[in-house]
């Protein structure tokens, strides 16, 4: 059964969507990048990921998700209604468990320095993670056009979110 490596953007979209839905709150899909930029709904994203038996995430992605969720929820909540990030993480951890997330650790200092300088530690760790899957060539799913381009150049298996429309 195939596996996929998830970048921050798609994971954040999924978690935000589940965060609102679990509380019975309306989901404003226009706040999700997958919808706003690529016209891919969260249901479609979920269905796409459902094709994979295992979803791999590197720790840097969780750090980025936390930072972006804080900005997103703080902004959406307005002046008098700051939703605590603790609640977001409570829901997110439960979601990640149910998604069957596979965590992959890579030592920062072992990463390719040129790539870190260019892409930052998280994207570099994603590339390393894909390389380490050898012949399986587990693809990275990303919203990031720049990362997608870099991967293609280096013959790293990578899917851009907009390509999801080609999968039925």
């Amino acid at each position: 059964m195939p596996r996929i490596i998830l970048d921050t953007g798609p994971l954040l979209d999924l978690l935000l969507c589940r965060f609102w839905s679990e509380q019975g709150r309306p989901i404003d899909e226009n706040r999700l990048i997958c919808r706003k930029q690529f016209h891919i709904g969260p249901e479609q994203l979920s269905m796409f990921l459902g094709r994979y038996q295992s979803i791999i995430v590197v720790p840097g992605v969780f750090v980025e998700v936390g930072r972006l969720a804080r900005d997103e929820l703080g902004y959406a909540a307005g002046q008098f209604r700051k939703l605590p990030l603790a609640l977001f993480w409570r829901v997110a951890i439960r979601e990640l468990r149910q998604m069957g997330i596979e965590e992959r650790w890579t030592s920062f200092l072992s990463l390719d320095q040129t790539l870190v300088e260019e892409l930052g530690p998280t994207d570099t760790a994603l590339i390393r993670c894909s390389q380490e899957t050898g012949e399986e060539r587990v693809p990275i799913l990303t919203h990031d056009q720049h990362l997608h381009g870099k991967c293609k150049k280096r013959q790293i298996s990578c899917l851009h979110t907009s390509e999801m429309r080609n999968y039925k």
């Binding site: 709150r25 269905m47 038996q53 979803i55 008098f80 468990r97």
Partner: protein, 222 residues
């Protein structure tokens, strides 16, 4: 001398207090109660097997963020007419909590629900399917299934590792919802939903009165 309309307006005494009630208590509370009713309409009581309690259906005071609770307490002191309807709603939350707990005990204290799940899980894995619980330990998986039953979970997101297992066996597990504790649960859900609707109506009226009386907007505009 300045004309009447050009004089700087003096804020009526109590305006800041009324704003605090509206922006930090009434508005969030109405939003939470509406969200709660969305869940209750789906019979989702947000039960969690790890804590054996409802996650998002809470007593009114607990719905308010801790920093705004002094404003909540002040509202109930300043508007004691709100106390009975809030109390009524909280009583119904407690009734629902007890009903959900009775269902949970019904599912988990006898061995039959667990063995039912284990049998189907065994069948599933013997057919060559992967374990559907992901990182959830195998001895906890049946409790997760009990949580789905208790929350009347009709569909799971496609990306959940248990999605295919659940969509295949859910009807078998839902048979357990035909038992007496579950009819009490449904009654409690319905009663709380009505109490929430009544409370939303009252809070909405209260907000309108305060906005009129103190000439303040119903939501902050900056």
């Amino acid at each position: 001398m300045l004309a009447e309309e050009n004089r700087p307006r003096r804020r009526r005494k109590g305006t800041e207090r009324a704003k605090a009630w509206i922006y930090s208590v009434l508005n969030p509370l109405m939003e939470d109660l509406r969200a709660e009713n969305t869940l209750l309409a789906k019979k989702n009581v947000t039960w969690r097997y790890q804590t054996a309690e409802m996650e998002f259906i809470r007593q009114t005071r607990e719905l308010i963020s801790p920093s705004a609770r002094p404003n909540y307490d002040d509202l109930l002191r300043g508007r004691p007419d709100l106390q009975p309807i809030m109390r009524d709603r909280d009583t119904k939350v407690e009734t629902l909590n007890q009903a959900a707990l009775a269902c949970w005990k019904y599912l988990t204290e006898g061995a039959w629900f667990q063995s039912h799940v284990q049998q189907n899980l065994q069948m599933w894995t013997e057919e060559g399917n992967p374990y559907p619980g992901g990182p959830i330990p195998e001895d906890e998986f049946w409790q997760l299934v009990a949580e789905y039953v208790l929350n009347d979970t009709q569909t799971l997101p496609y990306h959940y590792s248990s999605q295919q297992f659940w969509s295949r066996f859910q009807m078998i597990f839902f048979v357990f919802r035909a038992s007496p504790p579950f009819s009490e649960l449904e009654q409690a859900i319905s009663a709380l939903k009505k109490a929430n609707e009544a409370l939303i109506g009252t809070l909405d009226q209260t907000r309108s009165h305060l906005c009129e009386e103190y000439d303040i907007p119903a939501a902050p505009i900056s």
